[in-house]
């Protein structure tokens, strides 16, 4: 009985921890660059919650978009996925490479809005 309780307890703790890591972005301060083999720049500074509060973004799909057949799917979002699941390092056709997708998503929006960093070293801080 003791063993069962111990296993159940550690499992539930593990599940809670796993979900905390996946769903809460409180501790996110940089963009995940694990998909790059030999990154040349520091990961881009990005404090998820603070950014979205400042930018007034409520809709996850604003950044975590879903595209099908080259068209953006409304009312669908992809926040459970890694960007690199769709955007590989090379890119193909309409699918931008991972670097280009990151830059388009962040810098592209900043340029459109006239707010936020746009120069290399403003995000890739040494």
């Amino acid at each position: 009985m003791k063993t069962v309780t111990l296993i159940a307890l550690s499992l539930s703790i593990a599940i809670v921890l796993a979900f905390t890591a996946a769903w809460s972005q409180d501790d996110m301060t940089v963009v995940d660059n694990a998909a790059f083999n030999n990154p040349q720049r520091t990961p881009s500074v990005f404090v998820h919650d603070e950014h979205n509060e400042t930018a007034g973004i409520d809709d996850c799909a604003e950044c975590h978009h879903v595209y099908e057949g080259g068209k953006r799917v409304e009312d669908e979002s992809s926040e459970g996925q890694s960007c690199s699941e769709c955007h590989d390092l090379q890119g193909s056709g309409n699918q931008p490479s991972l670097i280009k997708a990151f830059h388009a998503n962040c810098k592209g929006c900043h340029q459109e809005q006239g707010k936020g960093p746009i120069m290399c070293g403003e995000c890739h801080i040494k």
């Binding site: 040349q40 830059h103 388009a104 340029q111 006239g114 120069m119 290399c120 070293g121």
Partner: protein
Amino acid sequence: MHSFYNFVSGPLAWVAFILFFGGSIYRIVSMLKLVAEKERFIFSYMSWRYSLRSIIHWIIPFATVNWRRQPVLTVVTFAFHLCLLATPIFLLSHVVLWDEAFSISWWTLPDAVADIMTIIVILGAVYFLVRRVTQPEVKFVTSVSDFVILAIVAAPFITGFLAYHQWLSYPLVMCLHVLAGDIMLAAIPFTRLSHMLFSPFTRAYMGSEFGKVRHARDW
């Protein structure tokens, strides 16, 4: 600062590239027209064989007597010109911008290598500056414009180096870097930096005259 950055990397960059390509074509065409007008006989002895023979000797370090006579200058000038040309073309952050703007991209240098190549360009510029000031035979043919074009060439690399390392005020340095690049591109056809365009023609002419008229080597 962002609107200034967008200006120097947008409209002003277009102006710079148009001046660079348009100016280069204009300078080469008007040079050829001038030759055709005033010294048409040159075409009678221009030769591909002697032209290429001369160019090939002069673009290889130590392949000419003059390169061997001045070994330090030879090493510096080859390292300088190679890095000057290759670094901006194959720099990752430049290619990223080409890709964003026109969806074109190509092979890139690792940033650490580009960093060293940038230092080589800056040190080369310092060497040429010291040489102009201290060597009597160079000083004799030096005018103010020579220092100006040296500064025009060094500026994009100094600011690029500072921007990469994010020393001093990054946004300002970044803007100055793009501005310096625009100025350099636009200056190439209209200053002595035009040796970039004319040197193959000069070499071809010398090679042809030495080869076909004087039956001598020009290296």
